[in-house]
């Protein structure tokens, strides 16, 4: 019966109790020698968490600006179509500012993302 030494459940399928005890001791000794993997936590998110955190920061920087620009462009278009200059630009730029703030809050995970309401 060929078993790998790294198998940590020696008791099952091993008839000899002495062998089972020795395998159990070996497992414990190997566990003590193997360094524990670094704890991944909020403070130490590991290498993958670093990239994700940087990505999150980079995301937020342009969300607000994009909202304001889109609001401004829509407002300018409304002015151009209706001729009520500069009211469209003023109102939609402010709405764009609100939209941009919403984007920032969403990318920070502070506001739930938009979703289809459940049918009643």
């Amino acid at each position: 019966m060929a078993r790998r030494a790294s198998d940590s459940r020696p008791a099952e399928g091993v008839d000899d109790p002495a062998l089972a005890a020795r395998l159990g001791r070996l497992t414990r000794e190997l566990d003590a020698l193997t360094p524990a993997p670094p704890q991944v936590s909020e403070k130490n998110p590991g290498p993958k968490g670093d990239a994700a955190g940087l990505a999150k920061g980079l995301r937020m920087s342009s969300e607000l600006v994009a909202g304001v620009i889109v609001g401004g462009v829509i407002g300018w278009g409304v002015d151009w179509l209706t001729g009520y200059r500069p009211w469209g630009l003023m109102i939609f730029m402010l709405l764009g500012f609100v939209g941009g703030t919403l984007n920032v809050l969403r990318s920070a995970g502070l506001v739930a993302p938009a979703k289809i309401p459940d049918e009643k």
Partner: protein
């Protein structure tokens, strides 16, 4: 010495005219073809000789695959894997183009807004198209949040629509602005070295060590930015695709 000069589009040869508009093969197109050739060629070569025990190049390709697949699964769930070809193509294309830009004398394709905007709009219309195909016109209800008093509902809907429309803009601007700004900064700092040396003589050479150090450090930072921007672009793509796949959650 002009730091903008490096972004100039040059016509290599003219292919023809469509409706009075000249269609030319530019240096930008050349580098895009080169990037696609390197990605496809590399993948085909590596996977042709694939073994159970991966070699160096096979490990690299498998690492990129796992990286993108993990990101997509986290962003859009298991269903999101149907968009894996799109996300992987975007990631590898942007990554290779960004890294191309760091080779001296090479053209940085991703520093042009028209390229990044096109890529962002592909994602934008994919999200809308797939959302409507899957959920019908109920998809547009993501603009109408529930539980809002009726008299401020139009305002909130308008804000939601602006927020949705601003996505392709921020998506494309982020990549474009980072690449453009990074390359200009690098060029300006590098040109300080020459200016100091010609202007101040021996003393200039000594002071020139400072901008040289800065240039070396910035080059390292640009490598990080090149990877990170490709990652952010692909990550946001999978987050936006999640909206089309599960707008109810």
């Amino acid at each position: 010495m002009d730091p903008i000069h490096q972004f100039e589009i040059k016509k290599l040869f003219v292919l023809g005219h469509i409706g009075g508009v000249e269609i030319a093969f530019t240096n930008s197109a050349l580098f895009m073809f080169a990037a696609v050739a390197i990605i496809i060629g590399g993948m085909v070569l590596v996977t042709a000789g694939a073994g159970n025990v991966p070699g160096r190049s096979q490990s690299l390709v498998e690492m990129i695959y796992d990286f993108v697949a993990d990101m997509l699964r986290q962003g859009a769930g298991e269903e999101g894997m149907r968009f894996f070809p799109l996300v992987f193509a975007l990631f590898s294309f942007i990554l290779v183009l960004n890294l191309f830009g760091l080779i001296p004398g090479f053209f940085t394709v991703t520093s042009h807004l028209v390229i990044t905007a096109t890529l962002a709009l592909i994602v934008f219309f994919t999200v809308i198209g797939y959302g409507i195909a899957k959920h019908g016109f109920r998809f547009f209800k993501i603009f109408v949040p529930s539980g809002i008093p009726i008299f401020i509902l139009p305002l909130v809907t308008l804000i939601e629509i602006i927020s949705f429309l601003s996505r392709p803009l921020s998506h494309s601007m982020r990549l474009f602005a980072n690449m453009l700004a990074g390359h200009i900064t690098l060029k300006v700092f590098a040109s300080f070295i020459g200016m100091l040396a010609t202007g101040l003589g021996v003393f200039g050479f000594l002071v020139g060590i400072l901008p040289l150090t800065m240039t070396v450090a910035l080059t390292a930072l640009e490598f990080l930015v090149a990877f990170l921007q490709a990652y952010v672009f692909a990550l946001l793509t999978s987050i936006y695709l999640n909206d089309a796949l599960h707008p109810g959650h």
